[in-house]
């Protein structure tokens, strides 16, 4: 070999070695993973155990933020934290390669043939997908239990003292009892450990128990008989009060149902059982899902016709209908109408039928970045309510409407306009309000944002409101919301009233099933007839602490 050839060979070898080294370095630097999808609390990564990820690892994004690996498959992983699609992170160094174990030499053809025959003659059942039994339907639930204990304090300066209440709430939703039966329970026990005059609501009952629901039901998504018995909140019967009795119907596959209900109606204030009042009637529930590309995507309608005798409204014949539709993917709308007639002298002598309620709700998203939401309520029926011992207020006829628009200007800026009006048809007093709100949803990056709002108010108590709200959260474990508000109200007092308020809400997820919530609201009057922060200045505080569990 000539000298020139040796030199050329050496250069080629050096080039190959250098090239291999560069490729190796590039591969080392390129070991990054990225976020494929992102929800508010969970990220979906394009790397898995093959890339060295393991549950519990903390990944730090090269842009900002971090997350904790939750579950890992061979090539994918989920991660709890905040991030954006496309965020990248450094993958852990790969494990050193395992020494190559030389496999034993292959078996002889005779042995292989023998094994093949054994496998071919062995029966094996095909793996198939079997849907879990137990029905389905929109209302299908696996059952859940909610329980919580709370303490609440109300305090006002210059008053006779704080009000303190302890309370325990429990709710069981669709807990399976076997045989297709489920249990529903909804109750609250409250104890006033301290109260001072004046008291309007149940002044003689420091301990109160409310049971809204305690029923056993059977309702299958596959159709067939459906019923509930006990203290029943009638299933999807629009506007029907709770009752101590039963609801029975026949259910079709797909969720439509028709049936009857009847029973005694508990007291409106104490919920104590009473045979003095009752109700019976019939209902129809229909719902239909249309083709994904059709104009109407979903339609639900519920109807009720009932005789109702309650302690607050007396004997009445009521009819009610609710229609809800999803129209294309841009519009959701609902209409609810209730009519009623007094039957104080029996069903044979009904009074004039009155329009008790009309309610319209609509939410539209004409373009992806713009959403419009509005509602209209007409409450035509008087709703008597107790006001202190032996006193009953008659009223409740009102109209209310609101309209809001929200524009997602960018990924981090949302601009909204809030507006509405409310009219009391008894006193003809009306209030109207309108104002903007600007939200910087990612001012603190993954940790939260702020919003500022202002509302101008007109009507019988005109005024204006402004607020600054800060929301901070940490990987779905802790959330803190603080709101600073200022209000000016005119014509509600001998002089304009300026108030300043601070409210805070803290939610801490202590574990997979236990959460702690603390809410406080403090306000002070900035002017008026009293000196600022003087002993008689209107200062007030509400503090509410709750330990809640979900199982």
């Amino acid at each position: 070999m000539s000298t020139a050839a040796r030199i050329a060979g050496a250069l080629l070898a050096a080039g190959l070695v250098a090239g291999a080294g560069a490729r190796g370095e590039a591969r080392s630097q390129g070991r990054v993973g990225s976020v494929l999808y992102a929800t508010t609390t969970r990220l979906y990564l394009d790397a898995g155990s093959r890339e060295g990820l393991a549950p519990g690892q903390v990944l730090r994004f090269q842009r900002a933020g971090s997350c904790r690996v939750e579950q890992v498959s061979e090539t994918r992983a989920t991660c709890l934290g905040s991030g954006r699609v496309g965020d990248t992170f450094q993958l852990p160094e790969p494990a050193p390669p395992q020494p190559i174990l030389r496999p034993p030499p292959p078996a002889s053809p005779g042995v292989l043939e023998q094994r093949r025959n054994v496998l071919a003659s062995a029966p094996y059942p095909p793996v198939d997908y079997h849907e879990a039994a137990g029905g389905g339907g929109v209302e299908a639930r696996r059952g859940s239990i909610d329980a919580g204990v709370r303490h609440t304090t109300w305090w006002v300066s210059g008053g006779p003292g704080a009000w303190n209440q302890e309370r325990a709430d429990a709710g069981i939703r669709g807990a399976p009892l076997g045989g297709g039966f489920t249990l529903d329970l909804d109750l609250s026990a409250r104890r006033w450990s301290r109260r001072s005059d004046p008291i309007s609501f149940r002044p003689d009952d420091p301990t109160q128990l409310y049971v809204w629901e305690a029923s056993i039901s059977r309702r299958s998504g596959d159709g067939g008989p459906a019923f509930s018995v006990g203290r029943v909140r009638p299933y999807r019967v629009p506007g029907q009060v709770i009752l101590d009795g039963a609801q029975a119907g026949w259910r079709l596959e797909g969720g439509s149902e028709a049936g009857v209900f009847g029973g005694a109606v508990p007291n409106s204030v104490t919920l104590a059982p009473s045979l003095d009042h009752g109700t019976f009637g019939a209902y129809w529930i229909g719902q239909r899902v249309f083709e994904p590309d059709s104009t109407i995507r979903f339609l639900r309608h519920e109807t009720r016709l009932a005789f109702v005798n309650t302690d607050d409204l007396g004997k009445r014949l009521e009819g009610e209908a609710l229609v809800e539709a999803r129209i294309t993917r841009r519009l959701d709308a609902a209409l609810n109408v209730r009519v009623g007639a007094s039957a104080a002298h029996g069903l044979g002598s009904l009074d004039t039928i009155r329009l008790d309620a009309v309610r319209v709700d609509a939410t539209a998203r004409p373009i992806d970045s713009l959403s419009l939401s509005g509602s209209y309520r007409h409450e035509g029926g008087s709703v008597p309510e107790l006001d202190g011992p032996g006193r009953v207020l008659l009223g409740g006829e009102a109209r209310h409407a609101d309209l809001s628009a929200a524009w997602e200007a960018t990924e981090t800026v949302r601009i909204s306009v809030l507006s509405g009006f409310s009219t009391d048809l008894v006193t003809q007093k009306t209030r109207r309000w309108i104002g903007p709100e600007v939200a910087l949803t990612r001012l603190f990056g993954d940790r939260g944002g702020i919003s500022l709002g202002y509302v101008q108010e007109e009507g019988w108590a005109p005024g204006r409101s402004a607020w600054l709200q800060v929301l901070a959260h940490s990987q779905g474990v802790l959330q803190i919301l603080t709101r600073l508000s200022w209000f000016r109200t005119s014509q509600i007092a001998p002089a304009d009233l300026d108030e300043l308020g601070v409210s805070t809400s803290i939610q801490a997820q202590l574990g997979p099933h236990v959460a702690f919530r603390l809410s406080t609201m403090a306000r002070t009057v900035l002017n008026g007839q009293m000196e600022l922060f003087g002993p008689a200045t209107g200062r007030m505080l509400i503090a509410d602490a709750e330990l809640a569990g979900t199982f």
Binding site: G159, F201, Y235, Q479, L497
Partner: protein, 280 residues
């Protein structure tokens, strides 16, 4: 003939083996790994935020069937309104827009005194710090309607409670527009706007003083506006010795309530000035 046999064979032959398709699954969807893992058919993992309905709060742990029903065709439209899945406990009063008061983290209400501003009754003063059920008393239907925009509708009892007290509202002929005198913070410390017609209290040196600072009694009200109660006692604050000295040059001065009032009414248009200084 052979062609016929071939055709018959094709018709009679069993269909070619196909991929196992779970009942109800979308025929074209074959990317099982988008939702399932080799560990088993459950649990299922799916990025729901791409559907326009991100799963937040308690919705994260909801089962797919709770919303999508027994069908596994997840392309089938599902209404996104709260009322489509959650039964209404308010007997329809608020329609299906639960989000005005609740959020996905809990059914505990988020509707506080600040939100009450967007109703016909802003919670001012003490109204912001009382339990909801003090006004909204129907617990059975969890309703919140009430004709309470008018003060007297709720505070009629308080008006009647003044009977026999030093400020008997009915006896004094006070109206029922509570807010013309009272602040929403507390009943005490009321202002009587009509008092300015007789003696200015809304401004000036006597602004903010209470009734019994001047009046010896409030049980014998004359008709409001006639300025003839005869119970105002200037000498409670203004010592005679001092006033006699400061009014030495004023002809006809007498240290008596009636004489003070003849000059110092503090009402608009009288042209008389308040004293430069008040000595208590």
């Amino acid at each position: 003939m052979s062609l016929l046999l071939v055709a018959l064979a094709l018709v009679a032959a069993p269909p070619p083996p196909s991929r196992m398709q779970p009942p109800g699954h979308i025929a074209v969807e074959t990317r099982c790994e988008a939702c399932h893992s080799p560990a088993g058919w459950t649990p299922v993992s799916f990025d729901h935020s791409r559907t326009g309905f991100p799963l937040e709060g308690r919705h994260v742990s909801a089962s797919c069937r709770a919303c999508h029903g027994s069908s596994t065709d997840f392309r089938a439209p599902v209404p996104t309104s709260c009322g489509a899945c959650h039964q209404d406990v308010h007997t329809g009063e608020f329609g299906n827009r639960c989000a005005s008061c609740h959020d996905p983290s809990s059914w505990a209400t988020q509707f506080g005194p600040d939100a009450h501003r967007f109703t016909n009754f802003p919670l001012t003063g003490r109204h912001a710090a009382i339990p909801c059920e003090e006004c909204h008393q129907n617990q059975r239907d969890r309703r919140f309607t009430r004709a309470a925009a008018d003060c007297f509708a709720c505070h009629q009892v308080d008006y009647a409670r003044t009977a026999g007290t030093s400020i008997d509202h009915a006896r004094a002929g006070f109206g029922t527009d509570c807010k013309s005198c009272h602040f929403p913070t507390r009943f005490k410390g009321a202002r009587f706007a009509g008092h300015d017609a007789c003696f200015q209290l809304s401004a000036g040196p006597h602004a903010g003083i209470s009734c019994l600072d001047c009046h010896t009694t409030l049980t014998s009200f004359a008709a409001p506006g006639t300025c003839t109660t005869g119970t105002a006692d200037c000498m409670r604050c203004h010592a005679c010795a001092h006033e006699t000295q400061t009014h030495a040059a004023i002809g006809g001065f007498q240290c008596s309530n009636r004489k003070c009032y003849e000059c110092h009414t503090f009402t608009a248009g009288t042209g008389l000035r308040p004293p430069a200084r008040v000595k208590r």
